[in-house]
């Protein structure tokens, strides 16, 4: 039985699923382990939640493990995350010691499994240190970097590079994020799951409920940005853009909907700052949603007229993909993976400043037909390129590539 795959066939067409099955045939029974740092919250966990069962349905023997640690470990890995995105962050020795200790402890628990697996996929910096604790490993180890590492803070990257240099391959979301490493660097953009609570079709009644729940007026224009309270997502810049646009569109409403990830200790400080900037404007709605509020986020994105993702650094920007899947025009920061998705005048607009965002907000509200056209194009673009099935196909191709060598054409037929 392959119920999950069959349910995807309804969205992608059966050919896409047949293609996956044929590609996976020669990987049947291969032991694959994914390791990351959280099962809930954030894009990585959301992808793995579906990717792992799909790997299993395709016949690969796949499991998902978690590395965890104390507050110092999460502080350290959050700093690493920020440093990879370009922040000049000094990481104190005790934090690095906590990082080393957490990796060592995790390796103690997982060593047998990790050593026996044919493929080990390590997601982001948190578990990157596991490899050095598995000297007798048999399989190929792949470091999957989900972060915009195009301009990393060099001292931190130097430390982390020492951890990932011995991997057999790495994966980055965009070519610009790739680094000088002595192994193949595969480029795989992430994806969304169209059947998840966050993306599945909703009834109009369910969408309408968020208007009531969050005191929004369905008759007035609505901007929505969904993202963690993180400075790189520029929530303050979004408020500035909203205020500039509101001078011309007085009815405008703004929702900033942020979730919390268990591995992000900085969110609270940013949330406080955002609340201060918003002041007592009744049309700015700052929401702190539970990690499992996926249907609420789905409904908010569907309720929006325009979705914003005004990031200044972005690994990929799955919220952009989600919005496009819901046929919304997106105004996104001209950075990282947003550039791959937001195509000026086709699926939305790329902007660099709050002023730029405000101008595009006004432009779209004065060209509502263009908004619809952008939404239609965006949805088809996602269907072709950014659904989980494409992601799965590229992972399978990568595993086959690692198993069979470095030639341009690997003929399994």
């Amino acid at each position: 039985m392959s119920k999950l795959l069959d349910s995807f066939a309804a969205i992608t067409g059966p050919d896409v699923i047949n293609h996956l099955r044929q590609l996976a045939e020669s990987l049947h029974g291969a032991k694959v382990i994914h390791v990351n740092s959280t099962r809930v919250g954030g894009g990585v966990a959301e992808i793995l939640e579906k990717l792992v069962p799909l790997f299993n349905e395709l016949g690969l023997d796949t499991s998902w493990e978690i590395i965890s640690g104390g507050a110092d470990f999460y502080q350290c890995t959050k700093s690493m995350h920020n440093a990879l995105q370009g922040n000049h962050v000094h990481i104190a020795s005790p934090l690095l010691a906590a990082y080393e200790q957490a990796n060592k402890a995790c390796a103690e628990t997982l060593r047998t499994k990790l050593t026996e697996a044919e493929f080990v996929l390590i997601h982001d910096p948190q578990p990157a240190g596991l490899l050095e604790h598995c000297p007798d490993r048999h399989g190929k180890w792949i470091w999957r970097c989900h972060i915009d590492a195009s301009h990393p803070y060099r001292p931190v990257w130097k430390y982390l590079r020492g951890k990932v240099i011995n991997y057999d391959a790495s994966i980055f979301s965009l070519p610009a994020f790739a680094q000088q490493l002595p192994h193949p660097q595969y480029i795989i953009p992430p994806s969304i799951d169209p059947l998840s609570d966050k993306n599945i079709e909703l009834s109009q009644e369910e969408v309408n409920r968020v208007f009531v729940k969050f005191d929004l007026d369905p008759a007035r224009p609505l901007l929505v940005q969904v993202s963690r309270y993180d400075r790189f997502k520029d929530p303050v810049g979004v408020i500035q853009a909203y205020r500039m646009a509101k001078q011309f569109i007085p009815d405008l409403q703004l929702v900033l909907a942020g979730g919390e990830a268990s591995d992000d200790p900085e969110g609270e400080a940013v949330l406080t700052e955002v609340r201060e900037v918003a002041g007592n404007d009744q049309d700015i709605h700052i929401l702190l949603l539970a990690p499992d509020a996926h249907r609420t986020i789905n409904a908010l994105q569907r309720a929006a007229d325009i979705v914003l993702q005004k990031s200044t650094r972005e690994g990929f920007g799955l919220t952009v993909t989600e919005a496009m899947w819901k046929s919304k025009p997106v105004i996104g920061g001209d950075t990282g993976g947003i550039r791959l998705q937001v195509i000026n005048y086709h699926t939305g607009f790329l902007v660099n400043t709050p002023e730029g965002a405000a101008l595009r907000i006004r432009h779209l509200f004065h060209n509502k037909q263009r908004m619809q056209e952008m939404g239609r194009k965006g949805k088809e673009y996602v269907r072709e390129n950014f659904l989980l099935t494409r992601h799965l196909r590229e992972y399978l191709t990568l595993l086959l590539s690692l198993r069979h060598g470095n030639e341009y054409r690997i003929d399994l037929s």
């Binding site: 086709h346 191709t397 341009y408």
Partner: protein
């Protein structure tokens, strides 16, 4: 593909790999182009058909797009865009054509050597994993039925990748048809007239399907 009377329908999947080479100006692009692997040049002409990319592309190779939008060199962009690898040149010939256009531009304007690009150019390459769909065609007339059922990546393998695989740069369909003697020469000529460079893979599939249905069934789809 062997020249037998059975056509094995294959499929493929592509994975993109960073080469680590990057260019921030025209001089750096030229320097890298001199000795980057031919796989990379091939990828920047054809890889986009299978990689995530917006269909309504202004330029059909990455070098031309970068010259226009990142270097703001419209004349160079137009010249690079006119290079059509579907005409059968090998990648070394294509490499030299690109270098010649760049050299011409650099000779005209010394400043163009070092003008920084708005975004860097990343040289990529790709790997293609090929597998058997276990579907077979026994006679040319089967093309009319099978082509519409083929995936776009299968079309890529048989209609585009074949030109790089074969000693003579032709697609697998023509290669197969020529194995039946001169009977299908006129069909081969029509196939040769399909220029894959300006179409998406689904458009190519549509064109092929229309051609085979018209030829074998005298109808349209």
């Amino acid at each position: 593909m062997k020249n037998t009377h059975i056509f094995a329908i294959k499929d493929c999947a592509l994975i993109t790999i960073a080469t680590g080479r990057k260019a921030m100006n025209l001089a750096e692009l030229r320097e890298n182009l001199k000795d980057v692997g031919s796989d990379s040049i091939y990828h920047h002409f054809w890889g986009g058909l299978l990689a995530p990319r917006f269909d309504e592309r202004e330029f059909h190779n990455d070098f031309a797009g970068w010259a226009r939008h990142s270097l703001r060199e419209p004349e160079l962009a137009e010249r690079l865009a006119a290079i059509n690898p579907a005409q059968g040149q090998d990648m070394e010939t294509i490499r030299q054509e690109i270098l010649d256009f760049i050299d011409d531009r650099m000779d005209q304007n010394e400043i163009s050597h070092w003008m920084p690009a708005a975004r860097q150019f990343e040289f990529l390459r790709s790997q293609l994993v090929v597998f058997d769909t276990r579907r077979r065609m026994e006679k040319p007339g089967d093309l009319a039925e099978q082509i519409p059922k083929m995936s776009t990546s299968s079309i890529f393998y048989h209609f585009i990748d074949a030109r790089r695989r074969m000693k003579d740069p032709i697609d697998d369909f023509r290669f197969w048809l020529t194995g039946f003697g001169v009977e299908y020469d006129d069909l081969c000529a029509q196939l040769a007239a399909i220029d894959p460079f300006f179409s998406s893979l689904s458009q190519i599939r549509q064109e092929l399907a229309e051609l085979f249905i018209a030829y074998f069934e005298g109808g349209t789809i």
